[in-house]
Symmetry: C2
Subunit: 343 residues, 2 copies
Amino acid sequence: MSGIHLNDREPTMREVAALAGVSLKTVSRVINQEAGVSSELNERVQNAVRQLNYQPNTTASNLRRADQRTATIGLILDDVSNPFSSVLHRAIEDVASQHRTLVFAGSSGDDPKREEELILALAARRVDGLITVPASRASGELKQLQRLGKPVVFVDRLATIHTADSVTVDNRAGGSAAVRHLAAHGHQRIAFLGDIHDLWTAAERYLGYVEGLAMAGLRLDPSLVRQDVRNMETAEQAVLELLARENAPSALFTAQNLITIGAIHALQRMGRQHQMALIGFDDFLLADLLDPRVSVIAQDPARLGRLAAELLFARLGGDTRPTQQIVLPTRLIARGSGEIPIT
Amino acid sequence: MSGIHLNDREPTMREVAALAGVSLKTVSRVINQEAGVSSELNERVQNAVRQLNYQPNTTASNLRRADQRTATIGLILDDVSNPFSSVLHRAIEDVASQHRTLVFAGSSGDDPKREEELILALAARRVDGLITVPASRASGELKQLQRLGKPVVFVDRLATIHTADSVTVDNRAGGSAAVRHLAAHGHQRIAFLGDIHDLWTAAERYLGYVEGLAMAGLRLDPSLVRQDVRNMETAEQAVLELLARENAPSALFTAQNLITIGAIHALQRMGRQHQMALIGFDDFLLADLLDPRVSVIAQDPARLGRLAAELLFARLGGDTRPTQQIVLPTRLIARGSGEIPIT
DNA sequence: TGATAGAATGACAACGTTGTCATTGACTAA
DNA sequence: TTAGTCAATGACAACGTTGTCATTCTATCA
């Protein structure tokens, strides 16, 4: 047998009405549970619905509806398969489902082009609102967002637009704390490995790194800074290079979850995991089972997602308060790798 | 300033037409890049579109369109934040984006009720097709799926419906191989820890476990079987209990990624990770950096997702070949934990 | 009894778009 | 010149639903 194929056409309210012997509008009333339908007609319509296997067509409904609601929101992440992003996604979905809303999820891959495509595609489908981890900070995308004319919430990262709510963590304080923690254990040569420098989080964490160095009275050595590290593999490569230098760092601050994991690969490959101190930004599964256990600046992605979604649905519910810029604290979890003293 | 709010109404083709001084239909032709519009009118319409910031309304478009396509598919996973699921998701998204299609992603939480809600919500939005990791195998959901009247592809798990394509891995062979591998290292008391027993994958892997024991000539001891292990925490608890038994197992076969991680937590907590052999089903990030390195039955979730999406889009493209039941092999990756000999 | 209120139901238009078909006008061939 | 062809354009209906308003019917009150 071949795959399930399209019906000629799905049953419509009109057909239900005909079968039940009532008007189209009465069927509409029953489907939408409006008051003022006699229980007899109600019954007849329900039966016809069951008999025909009628399924409401939200698409047609929301075309006509006054509020223009599609019960659909858009979510643009950098990568749905990144552990951080996917936890964010799940938290948002949970809030959305309480509002009987479905979520379009897409990965921008941190590519402004793809991001814009996604925004346009979501706009064309008339999502009620958008939650996004913005890839670009430029105003080109800002215009696109505003064209949407729908509530927008930034999560995890900010963009240069002040007419939107946002939920982020204090990346700078986190980065600074990581560096000072390492300095407190005697490290003076602390390397920084960060994501694409144009990303807001990467930039903020770098700023935190610089501030932390300054607060600890340490000199910033540009040769210990590796920006635009895109993934685990390049992170591993970058750390291998740092280790091979004649004037190698004694500690690493890896400013993103996959970069941290790449760095650990490099350290273990060279058998240096017990000499080189390491603090990663963002906690990850199994960080507490590695040897040494990995110290991190932890965020709570589930909370970020939940708050972002709640902000969005508050707007959809008519909330017109001034835009909120929620900033959550980070938490340094000392597990061992960040407490390796200088040798 | 308060959050971005809804425009009174978004510009329509009618307004564009008025501004450009052409008919509605001509605007439609320009937007859809149909042939037969003079370059002069084309120009005028394009200008009007820009001027008004017109955004096409796919929702209205596909209501009228003959093919009834929404350029939207549904994806139901057990949990979008599970590492396995999220990689699957990303692979599907990548294929979908090549077809200019957006993906509705939802988590069933392996709850048939929630799964059915999602199916209905997707049906109401008239998705072009559905890819699902089915939670329930019963026909109640089967009917719902068929009501959709749209192509459905099962991925990772099967359900009792033979009119759909599917992409799965050979769970039974994988489970069997894991057990025989452990047996070959001298283990006779091999425990099984699996997900909800009603899930197709969990059942198949258990079957593989039983077959593997039989092939190795080992006796099945029901007291070494823990089914319905729902998450990391219960897995950890279950392993702790197994370790405390007077007749404890000498090896574990953990039949799902999070169960494996929970088990590792328990083993490390008790300091038994170097005595107790362990093979997990499904590979995971950092498995190769733990001590001992974790042996696994690896699948390729990205490939599963890609194939599933390609099957779906083939159907949408008119492919009417018999349904395909693709079964991919698994691969045993021996890293150490599965090769710990019996003491 | 007749007037009136109120509840139940339905007719019809409209949402923003595309499919169908008619109309216009320019160009070609006999 | 005239018939015929073809390309460009537009008028109109339709997709499946909901909002508005009119109509019908029953119950209630003076």
